[in-house]
Amino acid sequence: MSVKEITAEHIEELEVLAAKYPVRRSALLPMLHYVQSVQGMVSPKGIQTCATVLDLTPAEVAAVATFYTMFKRFPMGKHHIGVCINTLCALLGGDDLWKELTETLGIGHDETTSDSMFTIERIECQAACTVAPVMTVNWEFMDSMDPAKLKELIEKLKTGAPVQSTRGTLITSISDSERLLAGFNDGKVNDSPDADDSMLAGLRVAKERNMTAPIGKGVR
């Protein structure tokens, strides 16, 4: 797959990111997310561009880019799929999900399918252990997964059928997610669902059992 060129318009957007901070270098992580949204990876050219915008050496930028696992030095597919394999998810079923995923797609960790559709990754705890086992598609969450749901998910992504993340929005592409992570709001805040069962678990019990916080003068 050919990696997309970074154009003058892209550099303008990188400048917007750098201008958000009192010290421009602070924008480097967001800028690398941006490069990844354009190129599907952080290429040597992308590193060079960030270096130029921030007045750093390419070596300085490369040292940063290689430190963070989200930045990839190989072209990702259209969708990035993660399976949480940290202890809790792994034991509750994540190991099975990973096996199922690798067998279904015929690739391993940090590899991409030959049709450039999927890149898969073993990921660490996603701060969603209450809905374990957890998977992500383009970092949008797919909570409480099982092998049957996984099969269905892959099938839908392959055929382009709509897939709604359990906490986020309709799945589009890793490129769109990376643009948001770079700091460009996609305006889809209302497209994701309200609090789910796990988030409401305590509040529901409190209401059932008539438990409240002490009443304060400010009432919230």
């Binding site: 989200m70 809790l88 705890c125 701060a127 374990a132 986020g168 988030m199 003068k217 919230r220």
Partner: protein, 434 residues
């Protein structure tokens, strides 16, 4: 005292994350009140409340704010630690999803108190759903003049930037976070100097956990005494407990500190399939595990410390009797190995060696004397590493040996998957309930 929904009180309302809903429930009134007080008065209320940091270490929040030097002519910064990556911790992300304005309001109040005109919300990169909600909340607050220039005609200016990480647990450590926010590799800095003196851009900086700051508006609104009417003297207030694992209703349970685990477990419907609890971890994989005999200990900083563990992030993981302790520990060590930033030798090399040896135990071919070896390596890491990640990596193994030594011995003869068939442990299992 039981459940005390404050931060979670309105999560069941449609669009709980929207400013309109937040303002229906006295949202941003605390900010208005704060701006009528002096910054020192605001710090005073937070000090009096006894609020302690929810990021893991439990440092008193008001005290931390008071360390920031005044009239030093330097810019001050507030940095929100929303990196939430500790295995088992899953409370800041739901909070930012369902109630991001409590965080934004807390940020504005804290920034005013420490005389900062610039705040950064550092959110881990892997959570676009939460990032979107926080970005939206910040934009909504700007649109209403609750952030930006001359907030509510107080003369106070505050700019807030939502910043994203890129996948590195170590960036939750506050000084590594600051390096990361400066556009560098996220590696810890030597302390002192502490961030309060030389933090972001070598200027006075307060780093607070997201839940800590989100708790502040309710304290300003209702007073320190109201806050202290919950919890214990040393652990006042409410806390988001995120209960996960083999329980019937895993989720967020907001309760007064001091609520025992047994009570939280009851709210969570008890253990799944009526199986017995085997071990549990009160607040992230970096704190030592406990057993069912500890289930009535009040969940406070002091009581859990007395039991040889810590409250940590206050996010208990519950494992039933089908779970292999050896496998659990081995997987956590894999995590620490992966996340070690490589700056210092004990942590970088130690985690590498431990995982290698533990793998043998997983396969049932560990050697008795190698248990001593792992213990030794843990001793070489703990207290000798540059930052607390090293200490954390040296925690799960000794913690597990304290209660489950025989299981490690069994793993010198028998693969753990034979002793503890994984089919039983997973929750979508169809294999025999025992």
């Amino acid at each position: 005292m039981g459940l005390t929904p404050v931060l979670t009180a309105h999560w069941d309302e449609p669009k709980s994350f929207d400013i309109e809903n937040y303002q229906k429930h006295a949202g941003y009134v605390a900010l208005t009140n704060s701006l009528k007080m002096t910054p020192d008065e605001v710090i005073g209320v937070v000090k009096d409340s006894g609020l302690r940091g929810r990021g893991g270490a439990g440092f008193p929040t008001g005290l931390k704010w008071s360390f920031v030097p005044q009239n030093d002519g330097k810019p001050h910064y507030l940095v929100v630690n929303a990196d939430e990556s500790e295995p088992g911790a899953c409370k800041d992300i739901p909070l930012m999803l369902a109630n991001p304005h409590s965080l934004v309001e807390g940020v504005a109040i804290a920034a005013y108190a420490i005389r900062a005109n610039h705040a950064f919300i550092y959110i881990r990169g892997e959570v676009p759903h939460a990032i979107r909600r926080v970005m939206n909340a910040v934009e909504q607050a700007y649109a209403q003049g609750l952030l930006g220039k001359n907030i509510k005609n107080s003369g106070f200016d505050l700019d807030v930037v939502v910043h994203t990480g890129a996948g590195a647990y170590i960036c939750g450590e506050e000084t590594a976070l600051l390096d990361s926010l400066e556009g560098r590799r996220g590696q810890p800095r030597l302390k002192p100097p502490f961030p309060a003196v030389a933090g972001l851009y070598a200027s006075p900086t307060v780093v607070n956990n997201a839940e800590t700051l989100a708790s502040v508006p309710s304290i300003i609104l209702n007073g320190a005494d109201w806050f202290k009417s919950m919890g214990t003297e040393k652990s006042p207030g409410f806390k988001l407990f995120a209960v996960s694992g083999h329980v019937k209703r895993p989720g967020i349970y907001e309760a007064a500190l001091g609520t025992p685990m047994s009570e939280l477990l009851d709210y969570a419907g008890g253990m799944k399939q009526g199986r017995d609890l085997k071990f549990w971890i009160p607040g992230g994989s970096s704190v030592p595990m406990l057993t069912p005999e500890h289930i009535d200990i009040p969940m406070t900083y002091e009581d859990l410390a007395a039991a040889g563990t810590m409250l940590g992030t206050g996010t208990p993981m519950m494992f039933d009797k089908t779970t292999s302790v050896v496998k659990a520990v081995s997987r956590w060590l894999e995590f620490y190995k992966h996340e070690s930033c490589g700056k210092c030798t004990p942590c970088r090399e130690g985690t590498y060696w431990i995982t290698g040896v533990l793998e043998k135990f997983e396969h049932g071919v560990g050697k008795e004397h190698e248990l001593e070896l792992i213990n030794d390596i843990c001793g070489q890491i703990a207290g000798r590493s540059f930052c607390a990640l090293g200490d954390a990596a040296a925690t799960p193994f000794p913690g597990a040996m304290k209660y489950f030594a025989s299981e490690f011995e069994e793993a010198t003869r028998k693969p753990v998957d034979v002793s503890f068939p994984p089919e039983r442990t997973k929750i979508f299992s169809t294999v025999g309930v025992m």
